[in-house]
């Protein structure tokens, strides 16, 4: 029964936690915007269609939680920003799929390096459109994992720093309260990996009483 429900793309898209997946589709070519919108809707996506990256950016700014995925054309003729500029804004918050006519590999590489999760060639194939939900799920998993890792390393680094400070008998007045811990955490967030490692090693040596020997 579960397999039958997922047999169509619409089944997977509608089983998405939080309901139907919401796509912001941006394309200057009116005929293709119509075709892409229809293809997405056919596969169960809820689509907001905009005719330029400028309009797409306004849609994002007006409704920050209103989308799960952005799909945008790269090359534009009209005034305002192009797809690459739009990508810089949108990719901070959403998975972004770029699409264009045939482009050189360097252009596709640029798109991926600047934050796109895919760079597709128009006209998109039906299965490419059906499967865009995968980028949403992948991004959520990445966000969950990086959020957990960041919290873990912050806790370890703060504890080590506090241990080092106590051993040295440093006067951390003004840094002992929650503001102080926050200030320490913020300083730690700006440390490089090498600096953090060096602090860790120093802390371990101090705990062993081996510093300076």
């Amino acid at each position: 029964m579960e397999n039958a429900a997922f047999a169509s793309g619409a089944g997977i898209v509608q089983a998405y936690p939080g309901g139907t997946m919401r796509v912001l589709a941006v394309e200057e070519d009116p005929a293709y915007l119509t075709a892409l919108t229809e293809m997405l809707q056919r596969h169960g996506y809820q689509v907001t269609a905009k005719a330029s990256p400028e309009e797409g950016l306004r849609a994002l700014q007006d409704n920050l939680e209103g989308f799960d995925l952005v799909m945008t054309v790269v090359r534009t003729q009209g005034p305002g920003i192009d797809g690459f500029e739009f990508l810089k804004h949108a990719a901070q918050r959403y998975p972004v799929i770029l699409f264009s006519g045939v482009e050189p590999e360097e252009t596709k590489m640029r798109g991926m390096l600047e934050g796109a999760c895919a760079f597709l060639t128009k006209p998109l194939r039906d299965e490419e459109v059906r499967n865009v939900w995968q980028h949403v799920v992948a991004r959520r998993r990445l966000n969950a994992a990086s959020g957990a890792d960041a919290r873990g390393s912050d806790v370890v680094a703060v504890r080590q720093d506090e241990t080092v400070a106590r051993k040295r008998g440093l006067d951390d007045s003004g840094e002992g309260g929650s503001d102080g811990r926050t200030a320490k955490k913020n300083r730690l967030n700006s440390w490089s990996e090498e600096e953090l490692h060096a602090a860790f090693v120093k802390a371990v040596e101090q705990l062993r009483g081996t510093e300076g020997n």
């Binding site: 119509t34 075709a35 229809e38 293809m39 006519g101 128009k122 006209p123 039906d126």
Partner: protein, 145 residues
């Protein structure tokens, strides 16, 4: 029945002569009772936008100093739009057009603009016939009472 046969003949001819490719069939497959006018809508939008782009190209190539980058950008747009609806011949002519843009050949661009215009208007005319025949077929299956 006559309208249906004419429509079939027209479509077969458009595919056989390379005017259309299988991307147009992909669009046709998206049309169903939930989107009964989908193909008409897409075709109409393509024709309107194509007309606009060809007008812009003519203006740009009429200037004493031609901005070939702008011309190329419009041709790229028309090429993409043609590819999206399966307008194969227009798309292929655009590919040649871009070569003349990149070679900064005004004569080459002007000749190819004529070719694109002819291909586009030929396609548009056949699309119009197609849509009329489709309406006739629809009317014969679902006559108004």
């Amino acid at each position: 029945m006559a309208a249906a046969m004419q429509l079939n003949t027209l479509m077969s001819n458009m595919f056989a002569t390379g005017l259309l490719d299988d991307q147009f069939q992909q669009l046709q497959m998206l049309q169903d009772p939930s989107a009964p006018d989908f193909v008409a809508e897409v075709v109409t939008l393509f024709c309107e936008d194509g007309e606009r782009i060809i007008g812009e190209l003519a203006k740009l190539l009429d200037k004493p100093a031609v901005d070939f980058d702008k011309v190329d950008a419009f041709v790229h747009q028309l090429k993409g739009s043609s590819a999206s609806v399966g307008a194969q011949r227009v798309k292929n002519t655009c590919i040649q057009f871009r070569e003349f843009c990149q070679g900064k050949s005004r004569d080459g661009c002007l000749k190819t603009l004529d070719a694109v215009r002819n291909d586009f208007y030929d396609l548009r005319s056949k699309f119009q016939t197609m849509l009329q025949l489709e309406q006739q077929v629809q009317a014969s299956f679902y006559p108004k009472q």
